[in-house]
Amino acid sequence: MGNDILIDKRKLFDFAGKKLMILVTLLISALFFVILILLLYKSMFIFNSHSIAELLLSSTWNPEKGEFGLYSILIGTLLVTGISLLIAVPISLLSAVYIVEYAHGTIRRILRPFLDVLAGVPSVVYGLCAFLFLVPLIKDFIAPFFGIESTGLCILTASITLSIMVFPIIISLCVESFNAIPIELKEASLSVGATKWETVKKVIFRASAPSIISAILLGFGRAFGETIAVNMVVGGIPRIPTSLFAPGQTLASLIASAYGEMMSVPLYESALMFVALILFVVVLIFNVLAVFILRRAKKRWSY
């Protein structure tokens, strides 16, 4: 008799536990729909008085007068992200190839934890170092070298900072995918007389192309949404940048700097929610793309 109660108890526990786990899982899976819907709902207010085209294509950002043109900020964001990837992608790809194909075992063993630690360094620390080291460097040496006046708080500084931040991400993802290439593939290429570099270019890069693309997309997502480090060095002026040494503004950084004054002006909050919505949707698209390309690649390129 007592035994039956014990079994009932355990069954009840099993049942309740499973239901609890389902509940938690559903809540988290629903999270991004909830975020999306809330952001949409909050940015509805601004659509009443401004059309989407006006918001996206006008370049005057003047919340006090009720003008919320995001064009210059969009351009600034694209410039900063694009340039940072232009710097980061070749450098990290070549480093990854070197780590996998050329480096000795000891170097590899040292580099692994080193990169892991660097991926974990908080972004505010990157921002601080860029602000106190890179900004004076660009202000006093690099900009005068090209004959341009600059405060150092500019698009280029933000791009360099971001590219340093995405190095560890792209490198570790690429190293992983290069390591997954079967050795027979490389041996076949080497045995028909290809040099090591030809093998890298035509076999390794091709075989791991999908993983490289998804690594770049993930890096893009990270750079696009980075807030604090960019906010510290980009200058924070919502104008279309005239040169690389001119200040600009990015979407994520705008939210961080406008937060304090947002409550005072009507529609301002709604406009910021629209900015957050753009950020969310773009990052979402890039992440989904990255994940799908990676999954496709796993199926197709399984040797």
Partner: protein, 268 residues
Amino acid sequence: MILSLCIVIGSLLIIIGLVIFNGGSSLTLEMFTQTSSGGYYLGRGGGILNAIIGSLILALPATGLAYLIGLGISLYLQKEFTHTQISDFIRLSLDILWGIPSILYGIFCLMIMAFIGLGTSLIAGIFALTLLEIPIITRCMDESIKMVPIELKEGSYSLGSTRIETSFKVVRKQALPGIIAGVLLGLGRGIGDAASILFTAGFSDSIPESIFDSTAALPTMIFHLYSSPYPIVRERAYAAALILVLIVLSISIISRILSKRSMRFIIR
């Protein structure tokens, strides 16, 4: 190739060197023993004890909560509980949540706070960090739980234990190294994140007395100090950054040691 690797390593060494060199020279014992009330931002005496404590009481409870929720989800993703398609979809959504910029979690919490009429507070900051950490911790635990051999689970089932008992008593122990690594990865990410707690935890000069008080944290402290016109205050931002980097570094070292240690408890 060597050149590009040198650029990577060089730029990263510069960052670490800057933080250690500049931070080390302006690091004082006062920073650990006093709060920043008074004229700390104007160059007078004081410390950043409130930020250090703030960081810990924000990140530790958040990691604990994220661990509990993440454990539930990652155990649920096993084959015994759900179809492969459903678990694939959940994994996909977790991967995407991982990639979402942390400022969006901050905004999300801000909207909820406005809805229930809560100001910037410790509890809101904990909530934002928990959301930020859940995808990280869950995906790491999930990867190691997936590796648990089916024979071990079958052994447990054949002795008559239920799925929950097997999950929490057998699978959880077998996956311990991965779980520890995931939790500490989440902790490291949570303690260093500024964007999500900027709006939610706010900023204050003193150690919070209840969970409804605003609190400072190391990242937000750095964010407030760096642009000061006083050079001495900027040096303090470096010192705060050094403390933050040391905390993150020691979390990563502890994670390695603990993971290795807990390998002993694994049945191979």
